[in-house]
């Protein structure tokens, strides 16, 4: 659970009446949310409930149709680059170039962050996701799970304060899922904030401090991870 000291700090994420409309369809509406630094928040809900939209709004990939938002007290519209230095999002897509190797992908990402990654450092990072032997292979030949592992390494580069994960367990085998669990626990210990959207409720509800259930773009319910399982079980 986040500490008392963390609770008095500037919220990691604060949204007021946040909404996003695509055409006539509201993907997310009237979302009032406050995520404290160091908190692990789970977004649950059926497909199309607005989880991904909320994560993409927080990441600054979508402009809100209504409402406002702050990331560690910063306005994402005014301080876009500062916000992007603070957060990282791993979404459904892998953000990879098929013809580049795993090593080259890491180097592109780190160089654009303004950091020069030595080959040894890159190999150490790849070792974390068990891809060190594949470092020189084009990522186009990787399996879906290997691509996911490589993309998840983005959360280890520059150690952002806010980690946004959209279905982090998908495409991963049991060892990969355990690794992500370890990472999320590590982020919590380090005082980082994690917002994750997942359909894997048994696994993700154990990890979170708080869970929010979304339905058709509205926040329907919130409580602890254990309560979420009971709530979902009761309403199923």
């Amino acid at each position: 659970m986040p500490s008392r000291a963390a609770n008095t700090a500037i919220p990691a994420v604060q949204t007021t009446g946040l909404g996003k409309r695509f055409g006539r369809q509201w993907a997310l509406a009237h979302c009032d949310l406050e995520v404290q630094p160091g908190e692990v928040l789970l977004l649950a809900g059926a497909n199309g409930s607005g989880k991904t939209t909320l994560l993409r709004l927080i990441a600054g990939l979508y402009k809100p149709t209504q409402g406002s938002m702050s990331i560690y007290g910063m306005d994402p519209e005014q301080e876009k680059l500062a916000c992007r230095r603070t957060l990282t999002l791993v979404g459904h897509d892998n953000y990879l170039y098929s013809q580049l190797s795993a090593l080259e992908m890491l180097q592109v990402w780190t160089r654009l962050r303004g950091v020069e990654l030595s080959e040894e450092q890159a190999i150490d990072l790849l070792r974390e996701v068990d891809l060190q032997d594949r470092r020189d292979y084009p990522v186009g030949g990787f399996s879906a799970g290997m691509r996911k592992r490589l993309t998840l390494l983005r959360t280890r580069l520059e150690e952002p304060k806010l980690v946004l994960l959209d279905e982090p367990f998908s495409a991963l085998d049991a060892s990969g899922q355990n690794l992500i669990e370890e990472w999320i626990e590590g982020y919590r210990s380090a005082g980082k904030t994690v917002v994750l959207a997942s359909h894997n409720l048994p696994r993700s509800s154990k990890l979170c401090d708080r869970a929010i259930l979304l339905q058709q773009g509205q926040m329907l319910w919130q409580g602890t991870g254990a309560d979420l399982l009971n709530h979902v079980g009761a309403t199923a």
Partner: protein, 228 residues
């Protein structure tokens, strides 16, 4: 990190991708050569007419090849939403634009060493080394003038299924001044320039390249951020 270093990282990445997937360069080059060949058949054996039209045909080959190259440069970005991965980093979108524009310009410049000799042979044009150097300079300016708006429009249309139709529709009207400047100046180089008009046309080409890259650089962040 400076805008310049970020742009250079994008250029480096694009050149590496180009090197790994040589298919794009080869297919665009073949397309350009076939275009020149077809135009030479269309004009017929009249060597005077061929020489007079050579500049226009070379620029047409460049223009048609550029749309292929430009749309492909953003297809790799959309393949696994890699562009989104770049935008999630603390990267100035303006650096992305200048990086992509520079790599597209370099790509179009690579067409010159192949298309120019083919055109000189097919259209029976004699050119000394100095003329060749000036022609390559004009080609570079024309490539920059096409890449600047082309990169913006390729980014805007990259997620649309109708990109192949939309990109030329949007791009061609905008680059008419560049095409005029390129055709006139290259034709003067190929047929002779007794009034020394080439420098004026080259200035026009350079001006459009600067104007387009400045304006499109400002518009690119708005085009890309909601378009991804």
């Amino acid at each position: 990190m400076s805008l310049f270093r970020q742009a250079l990282t994008v250029v480096r990445k694009d050149l590496l991708l180009e090197w790994r997937g040589k298919g794009r360069l080869i297919s665009v080059l073949l397309f350009g050569v076939v275009t020149l060949l077809l135009f030479s058949f269309a004009v017929g054996p009249d060597s005077t007419l061929m020489r007079a039209a050579a500049g226009g045909f070379l620029v047409l080959a460049l223009l048609l090849s550029s749309t292929l190259g430009l749309s492909e440069s953003f297809r790799v970005e959309q393949e696994q939403r890699a562009i989104e991965g770049l935008l999630l980093l603390p990267v100035d979108p303006i650096a992305l634009y200048y990086g992509k524009t520079l790599s597209n310009t370099l790509f179009l410049m690579l067409l010159a060493p192949v298309l120019t000799p083919v055109a000189l042979i097919l259209y029976s044009v004699q050119l000394d080394l100095q003329g060749l150097a000036v022609l390559l300079g004009l080609w570079t300016l024309a490539a920059a003038g096409l890449s600047a708006p082309g990169t913006l429009y390729a980014a805007m249309t990259s997620r649309l299924q109708s990109q192949d139709v939309l990109l030329p529709l949007l791009l061609f009207p905008l680059v008419i001044p560049v095409l005029m400047g390129a055709v006139k100046s290259i034709t003067l180089i190929l047929t002779g320039d007794p009034m020394s008009q080439v420098s004026a046309w080259a200035t026009l080409l350079a001006s459009f390249a600067i104007i387009y890259s400045s304006l499109c650089g400002l518009l690119f962040p708005h085009a890309i951020e909601e378009g991804i």
